[in-house]
């Protein structure tokens, strides 16, 4: 089980109704995390996953950081997530 910090910005809060939360997960990649959040809230696939490419929708941003590291802008949805990571959804 991994513990993540999830942060939702602006329009994403109209999907989640909250600004941020701690989240326990078995997900190994950003893609799997998106599957979980879509199952819980809906909307995450529609917003973040491009139907044609299967990769991140160019119209969105996801930032990921491991604890103490500089956040990076996710391009490949199969980017791994680690325990204590922070994910920000734009």
């Amino acid at each position: 089980m991994k513990q993540l910090e999830l942060r939702y910005v602006a329009h994403v809060t109209t999907i989640t109704d909250i600004l941020q939360e701690g989240h326990q997960t078995e997900a190994v990649t950003i893609r799997e995390l998106l599957d979980e959040l879509d199952a819980r809230y809906g909307g995450f696939h529609e917003l973040f996953v491009n139907l044609d490419t299967g990769q991140l929708n160019l119209n969105t941003m996801i930032y990921y950081s491991d604890p103490g590291e500089v956040p990076i802008s996710v391009i490949d949805l199969d980017h791994p997530i680690g325990d204590g990571g922070t994910v920000t959804f734009w």
Binding site: V9, H11, Q20, V70, T86, T88
Partner: protein, 648 residues
């Protein structure tokens, strides 16, 4: 009255020393060469305000410029104000609202005000008729009070106004001009110059229609532009968020990635919960009462009105919480109380103060205080620390800055001049370029921003090359780029901390924004294709004016403007040495994330690339004769020769 066209532009000269006015037509050729608005203001300023002119004296000229798009549904009400800054550089600022269309409907495209009145006056303009009226009863009123008083006096709720507040009247550094309550522009010096002429306000009413040269073509061109800008169809991810929640969303993102100036940029990362409290989500949910917009903007709520609903400041109303204030009155001074932040911000608008001047000078003073360079004896007993414990004291200090009372008198000078007086190393805490405070954008993580802020002819002004953040380079294809004749490696150019391609990118961004601001239209609206494709504006310009020019000619107007601004500064004695980052950014690493200081090794090559790409002499930044003649500005090179300025 007959409808007017957009091909020939008119200028109304007013001399406040003797009350004389005259309306003239500008050469038709100028519409082709300079387009309008900022472009024509740049030409006028260079021609009319010669080197060594006293900025606060009668010979400085204050230009209010509209342009061929104003009054049409793509001009966004933009206008440009230009003059010589009290600091010596070009002072040019733009703002939106509704004044520009009204002035054009009155048959006037440019207002040029010289001289000085011997008592406070305001100008009343109606359909080409102008009166200089007494404003003694208005002098001293805050901006919102002036707005209400003039609407009542003129019995006209729809009269359009521009005015200054008490801060400008008191010649406080960087005071802008205001209008439509919460719109402002010209923090580079325009408010002070307006006050030096004892001009309190300008009121205008116009009733002429505006004819475009080819209506069908105009509508088709509008649809293309609208498709790029509309929330439903824009390619840019920011469009829906930017146009509703707005810029304060950046507080939470930037604090995470080391992009948020905190405690006078000593830190670049703030507490995430504090950032959340002042961020756009909280603002929109709990403070916003209504969407507002500039003239004919396709975005729903770039501007907003807000009200504080409860607590100590209940009932306080204001508007336009945007990109500046989360930094200047938030992270920069370590304040996370959004109520108080909106009150300070609102007071700045009411007194007519520049939020960047006030925020950065307060932050400078706080850092000085924490380092013992200022004491309570200097600050009228105020304990000036980051964290803003003494909220009432700070509110009163903002008033004292506007009124030049007590400690406020030192801060009213701006932190560049104030640190000269205080000395003892306080210059290190002053975040200024060319004597003007920064805006809100990180430099040590975004090298294009560092370069752009340093070279801007008016002092820090990111709107000259907006947007500042690296965009997704896939938004525009290689084919489109080739079609446009743009020679840029976008992938490299958009890597934040890679010095390569920054000079070339900045050059193109500056030229393309210059074009947009010469139409005029709003630089916020270039995002869809990263401001690389100007063809939608070109098509609108041709349809509106009937001026046939090819795309390279259209683009050249932007480069002309850039060179005229640079030439003005060169004539005043500015050179390469003045284009550098603030001391802190040049000498201090960010304490984490590995963001290094901008030392000469990284910065100077970017400057070289920028000057070379522009065709300017690399050692001095002076435009070469070859470049000037290429742009049809041979007269500028001749003037340099005559003045003994070395032109290559």
């Amino acid at each position: 009255m007959t409808a007017r066209d957009n091909r020939v532009q008119t200028i109304l000269w007013a001399d406040l020393s003797n009350g004389s006015t005259r309306l003239e037509m500008l050469p038709e050729e100028w519409t082709r060469k300079y387009l309008g608005c900022r472009g024509i203001n740049a030409r006028l300023l260079f021609d009319e305000v010669k080197a060594g002119t006293d900025p606060l004296g009668p010979d400085n000229v204050l230009f209010f410029g509209t342009g061929p798009m104003d009054g049409l549904p793509v001009g966004m009400g933009r206008m440009s104000i230009a003059c010589k800054s009290p600091r010596g550089t070009v002072a040019e600022g733009s703002f939106g609202g509704f004044f520009g269309p009204e002035l054009r409907r009155a048959g006037i495209d440019y207002l040029a005000i010289r001289g000085q009145a011997d008592h406070p006056v305001y100008l009343y303009i109606e359909d080409g008729r102008i009166e200089v009226r007494d404003a003694s009863h208005l002098w001293g009123l805050k901006t919102n009070e002036t707005d209400a008083a003039l609407r009542k006096e003129l019995s006209d709720p729809d009269v359009q106004l521009r005015y200054i507040g008490p801060a400008a009247e008191n010649l406080v550094h960087a005071s802008p001009i205001f209008g439509n309550l919460n719109n402002s522009g010209g923090r580079a010096g325009c408010g002070e110059v307006m006050a030096s002429k004892r001009l309190k306000a300008i009121a205008v009413r116009g009733s002429r229609g505006i004819r475009v040269a080819d209506y069908d073509a105009f509508l088709e061109a509008y649809k293309v532009l609208r498709q790029r800008l509309d929330l439903a169809t824009s390619r840019d991810m920011w469009t829906p968020v930017w146009s509703t929640y707005g810029a304060p969303v950046l507080a939470r993102l930037f604090t995470d990635i080391g992009n948020l100036m905190t405690c006078n940029a000593r830190e670049m990362r703030w507490d995430f919960d504090k950032a959340t409290r002042i961020s756009a989500e909280n603002y929109l949910d709990n403070y916003v009462t209504k969407a507002k917009a500039c003239w004919c903007c396709p975005w729903p709520a770039c501007q907003k009105l807000h009200e504080i609903k409860s607590g100590k400041y209940q009932g306080f109303k204001g508007g336009n919480y945007w990109a500046a204030q989360p930094v200047t009155f938030g992270s920069l001074i370590d304040n996370d109380d959004l109520d108080w932040l909106l009150v300070i911000s609102g007071l700045c608008n009411q007194y007519g103060l520049d939020v960047f001047h006030v925020g950065y000078t307060l932050a400078w003073a706080m850092e000085c205080f924490e380092n013992g360079l200022l004491t309570m004896a200097d600050t009228d007993g105020l304990e000036l620390r980051f964290g803003c414990q003494d909220k009432d004291g700070l509110i009163d200090l903002v008033r004292k800055i506007a009124m030049r009372e007590g400690f406020g008198d030192l801060l009213a000078l701006g932190c560049a001049e104030a640190s000269k007086i205080v000395g003892r190393g306080s210059e290190r805490f002053c975040l200024c370029v060319k004597g003007q405070e920064l805006e809100g954008i990180a430099e040590r993580n975004l090298y294009m921003v560092a370069l752009g802020v340093a070279v801007s002819e008016v002092g820090p002004d990111h709107t000259r090359w907006y947007p500042p953040y690296p965009c997704n380079p896939s938004l525009i294809s290689k084919e489109e780029l080739a079609e446009l004749g743009i020679d840029l490696d976008l992938r490299l150019a958009f890597q934040g901390r890679n010095p390569e391609q920054k000079g070339k990118l900045l050059r193109w961004f500056t030229i393309s924004r210059a074009i947009v601001e010469s139409m005029p239209s709003c630089v916020f609206l270039v995002r869809d294709t990263l401001g690389l494709d100007m063809r939608p504006w070109w098509n609108l310009f041709k349809a509106a004016t009937g001026v046939e020019l090819d795309y390279p000619e259209f683009v050249m107007a932007g480069e002309r403007l850039l060179n005229l601004d640079r030439a003005f500064n060169v004539r005043e004695g500015y050179r390469r040495a003045d284009d550098h980052p603030p001391i802190r950014m040049a000498t201090e690493d960010v304490p984490y994330f590995g963001y290094r200081k901008l030392d000469a090794e990284d910065f100077e090559p970017m400057l070289d690339e920028y000057y070379e790409a522009n065709g300017w002499t690399v050692a001095t930044s002076i435009p070469t004769r070859k470049k000037l003649e290429e742009l049809g500005l041979g007269d500028v090179a001749d003037e340099f020769d005559a003045l003994g300025i070395e032109v290559e």
